[in-house]
C-alpha cells in the first residue's frame, strides 16, 4: 500500500442535528477503527466502515485487467466476469480487451483466501479491503462474498474525470455491522414474475444485501410448483406460480450475487390458497376459494390431526430439498383462531392436551413443525407470534412488532431479525426508516451476548398495492438507504448525505435494469390517455401516496386483488424528490430572505405548478383516470398561488396581513387533505412561506 503523496483524511461524525467535520493533512498514516469516515465526494452506499482518501486516481481504460491471485473458483470467476460487464455498463467500453488472469500485473488484483461454500452460510465473513493507488487496485478478502462486496464498492467509485474514467486513490477497510441484511418480497398477494425477482437481486447486490426472503404462500396464492401436491399450483395460484426450474434458476442467480434465498410458507394461518387446493387439512369444512380481499382471514390448518403433519412433512421435505438455504421460514403470523374456536374436535383436543388458549395450540403446532423442519436439516424462522416458552432456542424470530419484541426473543435465547420500521409498503420517507436502528436501544438492557443474537434485519415489501409494474418503485431507491442502516456503522446518521447519495444510487440502479424510474412515465401516459404528460408529471412529481395503512381506509372502491393498480397513487413516488428540494430551498430562503437567486428559483417552481394546474383542468374530462385528479390539481393551483402571494409580499407590512394569512392557511389546510389517495408533499414548505410572510390581502399575483 503505497501512497505517492500525503494522504488527506476526511471524516465526519454525525448525530442528531450536530455535525463536525475534521480535516487532517498527514504525511502517511494508518488509522484503526475510525468509523463512519468518508470523503464527502464519494458516492458510496452503503458507506464503508473505514475510508482513507489519497491523492490521484487510477485510470480505467479498455485494457482494464483483473488478476485472481489466490483462491480461484467458479463463483468468484463469475463475479469477476459480471463485474467486468458492469464496468462496461458504467463506462460504455467494450470488454473485448478486458481480461481475467491468474497473475499480476493487472489493473485490479483480487485475492481471496478461502474457497466458497456451496451453500452460502448465514454468518460467513463478508469483510474486504480495497486499496487503490494510481498504478493498481488491490482487493483482499477472506471469502468470495467479501470480494463481491469489494467489487461493488469499486464500481461505485468510478467517475468521469477530465482525463477519462477513473477511481480515486483510496484505502477502504469494510465489513458489515450485521450478518443478515434482507429484503422480503411478497409474491403471493400479487405475483412477481422471475424477471422482477432477478432485477431486484441485481439491485440488492449493488447495495450489499445478502438475503432474499421470498414470501411464497398466503391467502391470495400459493406460488411454487409442488410435484407432490400439484393442486397447490393448479388450484391455488390462478396459474401464476414459479416452476421448480425457475426457483432453481433464481437461487443460482442469487447465489452468484452473494445472496441467500430464504423461502417462507406461511402456516397455519394465511393458508386460504393452500386450503383451496387441499381443504382436507383445514380446521373448518371447505370448499375454499383463493382470497381476493386484503386482511386477515379465517382459513387455518387443523393442528390437531396427524394427517396435517404428514402433509406438512411431505411438503416441507420437498421444499427443503428445493431451497438449499439453511433457514426455512414458516410464517406463523396472524392466526385469528375463529376456525379453531368453531370446531368441536379442536376444542376437545385443546382440553385433552391442556392447551388453554389458541396461542398454546399454535405453540403446540409450531413445536411439531419445528421437528419437521429440523429433520430436513433446516433452522426454523417465524414471525413474533411463534415466540413461546417451549419454542426450541434454535428457532429465529423475525419481528414485525418492534424492538421490544425482538429484545424479548434475544433475552429468551433466540436469535432475531428486525423488520418493524422497515415496511416498504407503508411508503414512508427513507429518512424515517434510516432513523430506525436494528439494535434495540440501550434502555432495553441487552447483554453483549444477547446483542449478538440480533442477526440483522429485513425490509418487507408486502404486495397488496404493488404489481410487477410498480414494485421496483416501492423498493427503490429507499431500500438502498435501509441497506446502509443494515451494513454501515451505527454512527452513520447524516440524512442530507444519505439523500444526496441516494439520488446517485437511484440512477445507478437504472443502469441495472430496475424499473423504479422507467415505469413512471409509462404509468403516467396511461393515466393521461395521451403521450404528452408534461403537466401530469409536474403534478405527479409533487405528490406522495397516502402513508401507512390509510389506503384501505380512504378507498372509494374497496381495494382487492381484482382492482387495477393504474392510478396516480400507484404511479406516484413514495417520496417526492421535488418536494424535498423545494423544502430545502424554502428553508434556505427563510434563513436568508435577501437572497434574490433562491427567491427567483422558488418563484419559478411555484409558477410551474400553477401553470400545470391550469393546463390539467381540460384534460380531466379526457380520461377516466384523470377525472379523480381534478380536486388535486385545483389544490395544486391554490397552494402554488398562496406560495406566490407569500413570496411577492414577503417582508411587507400590511394591516390586513393577519386576515390574509388566516385565509391562506385555511387553503393550505384543505390542500393537506388526502385526495385521490395522494397528498401534496409541497404543502408544509408553502405553509412555512405563508407563515413567515408579511402577507397581503391583495388579489392573487398570478391571476
Amino acid at each position: 500500500m503505497n501512497y505517492s503523496g500525503p494522504a488527506i483524511i476526511l471524516g465526519y461524525f454525525s448525530g442528531q442535528k450536530m455535525r463536525t467535520v475534521f480535516l487532517f493533512v498527514l504525511p502517511f498514516l494508518f488509522i484503526m477503527q475510525l468509523q463512519a469516515q468518508t470523503h464527502p465526494q464519494l458516492d458510496l452506499m452503503p458507506l464503508p466502515a473505514q475510508v482513507e482518501m489519497g491523492n490521484g486516481e487510477l485510470q480505467i481504460n479498455p485494457a482494464f485487467s483483473v488478476a485472481i491471485t489466490a483462491h480461484d473458483d467458479a463463483l468468484l470467476r463469475r463475479a469477476v466476469e459480471r463485474f467486468l460487464s458492469h464496468l462496461r455498463g458504467k463506462t460504455g467500453m467494450t470488454a473485448l480487451d478486458m481480461s481475467v488472469a491468474k497473475l499480476p500485473p493487472a489493473t485490479l488484483v483480487v485475492e481471496v483466501e478461502q474457497p466458497s461454500e456451496s451453500v452460502q452460510g448465514a454468518e460467513e465473513d463478508e469483510s474486504y479491503s480495497l486499496t487503490v493507488t494510481s498504478a493498481e487496485a488491490h482487493l483482499h478478502s477472506r471469502t468470495a462474498l467479501g470480494a463481491m462486496h469489494g467489487l461493488q464498492t469499486f464500481l461505485q467509485l468510478i467517475e468521469a474525470t477530465p482525463s477519462g474514467f477513473a477511481v480515486p486513490v483510496v484505502s477502504i477497510e469494510d465489513a458489515p455491522r450485521f450478518p443478515w441484511r434482507g429484503l422480503m418480497i411478497d409474491a403471493s398477494r400479487h405475483f412477481m414474475p422471475v424477471d422482477v425477482i432477478e432485477r431486484n437481486l441485481d439491485g440488492m447486490e449493488a447495495v450489499k444485501l445478502n438475503v432474499l426472503h421470498w414470501h411464497l404462500s398466503d391467502d391470495q396464492g400459493f406460488r411454487v410448483e409442488s410435484k407432490k401436491f400439484p393442486k397447490l399450483q393448479e388450484l391455488g395460484s390462478d396459474g401464476l406460480y414459479y416452476t421448480q426450474k425457475q426457483i432453481r434458476e433464481v437461487i443460482a442467480f442469487a447465489h452468484d450475487r452473494g445472496i441467500r434465498v430464504v423461502p417462507e410458507f406461511d402456516i397455519p394461518g394465511h393458508t386460504t390458497a393452500l386450503l383451496t387446493a387441499y381443504p382436507e387439512f383445514a380446521s373448518a369444512p371447505g370448499p375454499f376459494k383463493i382470497e381476493r380481499n386484503w386482511g386477515v382471514f379465517n382459513p387455518t390448518l387443523d393442528p390437531t390431526r396427524d394427517a396435517t403433519y404428514k402433509f406438512l412433512d411431505a411438503l416441507i421435505g420437498e421444499m427443503a430439498g428445493l431451497f438449499p438455504d439453511h433457514y426455512f421460514h414458516i410464517g406463523g403470523d396472524e392466526v385469528n383462531g375463529k376456525e379453531w374456536n368453531g370446531n368441536a374436535n379442536i376444542r376437545e383436543f385443546k382440553r385433552v392436551h391442556h392447551l388453554a388458549t389458541n396461542d398454546d395450540l399454535q405453540a403446540y403446532f409450531n413445536e411439531r413443525v419445528e421437528r419437521i423442519v429440523t429433520k430436513y436439516g433446516k433452522t426454523m424462522i417465524g414471525w413474533d407470534e411463534i415466540l413461546r416458552p417451549n419454542l426450541p432456542k434454535s428457532a429465529v424470530i423475525q419481528s414485525w412488532r418492534g424492538a421490544q419484541s425482538l429484545a424479548e426473543a434475544a433475552k429468551q435465547g433466540h436469535r432475531g431479525i428486525l423488520s418493524a420500521g422497515f415496511y416498504l409498503d407503508l411508503v414512508l420517507p427513507a429518512s424515517q426508516h434510516y432513523a430506525v436502528d436494528v439494535m434495540p436501544p440501550p434502555a432495553v438492557g441487552l447483554t453483549d451476548e444477547e446483542q449478538k443474537r440480533i442477526l440483522g434485519a429485513e425490509a418487507c415489501m408486502w404486495a397488496e398495492y404493488v404489481t410487477a409494474e410498480n414494485v421496483d418503485s416501492r423498493i427503490w431507491p429507499r431500500m438502498a438507504a435501509i441497506a446502509e442502516r443494515f451494513w454501515s456503522p451505527q454512527s452513520v446518521q447524516d440524512i442530507p448525505s444519505m439523500y444526496r447519495r441516494l439520488e446517485v444510487v437511484s440512477r445507478q440502479l437504472d443502469g441495472l435494469g430496475l424499473t423504479h424510474n422507467t415505469s413512471y412515465p409509462i404509468m403516467l401516459r396511461r393515466i393521461a390517455g395521451e403521450d404528452d404528460i408534461s403537466n401530469l408529471r409536474t403534478l405527479a412529481d409533487v405528490v406522495e401516496p397516502t402513508k401507512g395503512y390509510t389506503r384501505m381506509k380512504t378507498a372509494a372502491v374497496k381495494p382487492t386483488a381484482l382492482v387495477p393498480l393504474n392510478r396516480l397513487v400507484d404511479a406516484a413516488r413514495p417520496e417526492s424528490v421535488t418536494a424535498r428540494h423545494f423544502a430545502e430551498m424554502t428553508d434556505a430562503f427563510l434563513a436568508n430572505p435577501a437572497d434574490a437567486n433562491i427567491k427567483s428559483n422558488i418563484e419559478a417552481m411555484l409558477k410551474q405548478w400553477h401553470a400545470a394546474a391550469l393546463a390539467l383542468s381540460p384534460l380531466e374530462e379526457k380520461s377516466f383516470l384523470m377525472k379523480e385528479l381534478a380536486p388535486l390539481s385545483q389544490s395544486l393551483g391554490a397552494v402554488s398561488d398562496a406560495g406566490l402571494q407569500a413570496l411577492q409580499h414577503f417582508g411587507e407590512a400590511s394591516a390586513s396581513a393577519q386576515e390574509w394569512k388566516t385565509q391562506q392557511l385555511s387553503v393550505l389546510d384543505a390542500a393537506s387533505q388526502t385526495q385521490a389517495q395522494v397528498t401534496l408533499a409541497i404543502v408544509p414548505a408553502i405553509r412555512k412561506l405563508v407563515e413567515a410572510s408579511g402577507g397581503a390581502a391583495t388579489a392573487s399575483p398570478s391571476k
Copy 2:
C-alpha cells in the same frame, strides 16, 4: 357484423404532396378493396388494408374474456395468453379475472380456421378480419399468424376514454402487401445478448414483422456454439456467443410471435473469425486473428479444396438442424479476391476448371454450397453477389444494391428481398426509408409473374456502431415506419400521419421493454459525469449522428471493435423529434408571421437552447466525454442567438439588413458542419427564419 348506427367512413389517399380527404356518411355498407383508408384518430401502425369506423366503443374491463371457438392449438393459446398480458400492461388491470374459454359469450371471440404449421412457412396466409361492436369483438383468420396480427391491432386500438378503457367500434380487413417482412440484426460486429434479441422480437411482433434475419458470423465474431467445431466459439467469439440452448429458446420465442428466424453464416468472405478457429480452410496461410477493424478483409475460404466442402457440409448440416426455418442464408457478399489471387493452387484450379474470374470461382463455390444447403432441406439465400447465370433458380437474392439489382434477379427467375434503402445503421430519417418502395418502379418493367417473385424486404441493423445499449435506439421507432412500408398498401404515403403515429408507437414499444428511450438518459448521465443532465439533454435533443458512411471518415480516433461507444454521437437519436417539431412551427410561423402564439413558442425554444449552451460551457471541463462537445454547444448558442435576432427583428426594414443576414448565414454555415460526429438538426429551420427576417445589425438581444 352488426352496427348499431350509421357507419362513418373516413379514408385518405395520399401521394407525393397531395392529400385528399373523403368523408362519407352512409347508413350501412360493405366496401371491397378500399385501400389505405383509416380513421385519422386511430393510432395504428402499420395501417391496415381496410378500416371502417362505426359509432360507439367496446368497454375493456377486468372481466375481459376471450373465447377460442374454432381451431385451438398451443401456439394460438399462448398468443392469447400473451395478448391478455399485454392488455394488462396497457390498462394496468390485473388479469386474474380474464379468462380464455372455448365458447362464447366473450368480449373477444377468436376464430382460426387451420391448425398451425410446426415450422412457420414463408408464405402462410397472414390475413385477418377484426370486427368490434359495442357488445363484443370478433377476430377471424385462416391461420394463427393472422390471429396474432389481429390481436396486435386490437391492442393498438385500446384507448383511455372518459368512462374507462375502450376500443372503438370498427371493422378491419387486413392482409400484408408482402409475405417477407424482416429485420436483420448483426450480432457479429458487436455481440447482442439474448435479451436484446428477445425484446426486439417483441417489438417486431407489435408492428407485424415476421422474419428475424440473424447475421451470426463475420470477420469480428462467430456467434453460435457448434458441437462439431467447438473452436468456432472457443477461438472465434471472444467468449461472446449463443449456446445452442439459447438459439432454440430464441427460435421458440420468435415462433410464438409469428416470426421466422433465418440464420446467416457468411461465406466464403467475412470469415476471419471462422478462420481464426480453423485456418486450414483458408485461402492463405494463417494464423488469423479475430478482426477488430471495420471494413472488408482478406481472409476467405479456399473454394478449391474438398476439405472445405466437407467442413461446410458438416457445419451447415449441424446448423440446418439447429435452425428449423426453410431458408438458410450463406451471405456471399464482398469477397475481395486478394487471397485467391495470391494462391498458386487456386490460380491453377481456376485455369483447369475454366473459371476466368474470381466471380466465376465464387459462382462455382456457391453452386457446391447450394447443393449442400438443398441436401439439408433448405432453400439458399444470399446477397446480390451470388446472382450468376448458373445459380439454381430456387435460390433467393437479398439485395443490398438496389431495385435494379433486385429486378434483375426477378427477371432471371429468382425470388428476391430488398434491403437497399432500409439500412438502419445509416441513421437516416424515417421519412427517407418510408419513401422507398419495396417493388421496383414500373420503369423497370417487371411482368406480373416477376413482380410476384419480390417476396418482400428486410431492414438491416449492421453493428459497427451499436452495442446492446444503444442498438434499440437505432432500430426503433424508425423500424415501425419501415414495417408499415412492408405491410400496408402502397398508397399509404402520408408522412405527417406516419410521424404522428410513430411517436405513439414509440411509447408503446417502451411498454414492451425496448430501451430506445430508456437508455438515452443513462448514456447522457455517463457523458455528463453527473446526474443533472438537463442542459446536456437540451443539446442532445437537437442533434443527430452523422449520416450514411461518414462516421468512419470523420473520426478523430479510428473506430474499431475496441473503441467505446459512449459519446454523444452514440446516445443521440437518429432523428431529432425536437428539430422536426421546431421546423413545423417555423413553417407555420413563416406562413403566418402575425401569429403571436407560435412566435412566442419558437422564441421560448430558442431561449432554452441559448441558456443550455451557456450552462454547458463550465461542464465541459468536468468530464472528458463533455470536452468534445464544446464547439457544438458554442454552435448551439450561436444559432439560437441568430434565431432570436431574426425573430426579434422580423418584418423590420433595416438598412444594414443584408449585412446582418450575410453574417448570420455564415454563422449558420459554420454550425452546419459535423462536430463531434453529430450535426445540429435545427440549423435548417433557423436558416429559414434568418432568410425571411428583415434582420438588424444591432447587438444580440439575448446577451
